[in-house]
């Protein structure tokens, strides 16, 4: 497998309807443990993730993978997008797009249905599942291609504690198995539990990139310290 990292953002600027949403900012992501992106609402966390994944056009600057293969990075949206199909067909969809053999697809679908506890409801319409089940389905669907990188945009927002714990366990397992996680969250507890690397975003710019343990113990900047304390940072 070709190494995709580092991912380099060079002077990236995103302007939407005349308003600067991101940057100009620089960032280098290397192989390694889970990266958690934190920052106040509206700071640009979501847009930053979308830029990295390549589904948000940049106004100027460049986003470069060491070696890009779009099938090797997947995205999980804050409010899960499920296809109007059965749970099983949702899982099969990314593999069918790649034209994988039927037997392989069926095996992968069965594995993931079991992993997220939806085997019983494999044939149910995905749109009728609960919010937590849909998000688990979306994560499983993102992972079914065995991507090297998984981007997640606040995947546990609006979910209850049980589901959040399930998803975190799944993510830790995924990370341990070698998939690079890049995830935004506004849940500081979750950031502490998962982060190896911490990115603090403020005003559309990458403000701090630091080792998570160090950052929580001794924040390097005033703003990060204030944010971690729970103060309103503007």
């Amino acid at each position: 497998m070709t190494q995709m990292f580092p991912l380099t953002l060079n002077k990236v600027l995103v302007r939407r309807r005349g308003k600067v949403v991101i940057g100009p900012t620089d960032l280098v992501l290397d192989a390694g443990g889970p990266t958690i992106i934190i920052g106040p609402n509206g700071a640009g966390k979501t847009t930053l993730l979308r830029v990295m994944h390549g589904i948000e056009r940049v106004t100027s600057g460049t986003v470069t993978w060491h070696h890009d293969d779009p099938a090797q990075h997947a995205f999980v949206f804050q409010s899960p997008i499920v296809l109007r199909r059965s749970a099983a067909d949702n899982l099969a969809y990314p593999l069918r797009l790649l034209g994988r053999p039927k037997a392989e697809i069926a095996q992968a679908v069965d594995h993931w249905l079991d992993r997220i506890g939806l085997t019983e409801r494999a044939g149910n319409p995905a749109t009728r599942l609960s919010g937590g089940e849909r998000q688990k389905l979306a994560i499983a669907r993102a992972l079914i291609r065995k991507p090297q990188v998984l981007f997640l945009d606040e995947p546990c927002a609006n979910l209850d504690g049980h589901t959040t714990r399930d998803i975190e366990a799944l993510l830790q397992e995924t990370s341990a198995a070698g998939t690079r996680l890049v995830m935004s969250t506004h849940d500081m507890g979750q950031a502490r539990r998962l982060a190896h690397e911490l990115i603090f975003v403020l005003h559309g710019k990458v403000h701090d990139v630091s080792n998570a343990e160090a950052a929580f113990a001794r924040p390097q900047t005033e703003e990060l310290a204030a944010f971690l304390r729970g103060d309103i940072v503007t």
């Binding site: 994944h53 589904i55 779009p70 997008i81 296809l83 990314p94 797009l97 319409p125």
Partner: protein, 234 residues
Amino acid sequence: MVDILDGLIAAFWLVVTFDAELWEISLRSLRVTLTALVIASAIAIPLGTFLAVQRFRYRRFVISMINALMGLPPVVVGLVVYILLSRSGPFGVLNLLFTPTAMIIAQVIIITPVIASIAHQSMRELWAEYHDLLISLNTSKRQRIMTLIWDGRRNLLTAALAGFGRAIGEVGAIMIVGGNIDNVTRVLTTAIALETGKGDFALALGLGFVLIGLAIFVNLAIHTLSQTEREGRW
């Protein structure tokens, strides 16, 4: 009011006595309209979906044109098709005037914009729902269109049935290009016009009720066959 009752009675007797001419005319109506529907759907559904997915320079113009063409007066369509198919017209050598084929051509022209417009409306909504996911999965244009058509098939069926309704009840265009020739191009609507002209309102209404019954039957049959109304199934 008496006429309406007479019409119901006439319709009842026509149906229960298995009137041979009625069957022939009804089957011809169905054959012409269903053929036109299949052809129009094959054009309009991919077109409507394409217009939802693809941005291009004259997109808005094309959509406006299709919406405007929905209001095409059938008589004008009939006249134009007549002039084109007339033996002294550009396609005269095909010798299609006053044949069921000519009626199919006219109906295709009338209902393609209807189906395309309704299909575009619902495909636009589905595309808004799926957009991020399908972009994220790095789908090709073709894969996007196929996914939308498959997952939106219920709405597309509604669009097609709207086209069917317009075609089966149409009289102005097919009267001109078909000629209402007995045993050749006489269909339910032209037969109704003929009987009205003869002042035989009861028979005309009777045929009208048969037409309504046929339309209801086709709608129910298509819904049943496609199982679209079954709860919890896609």
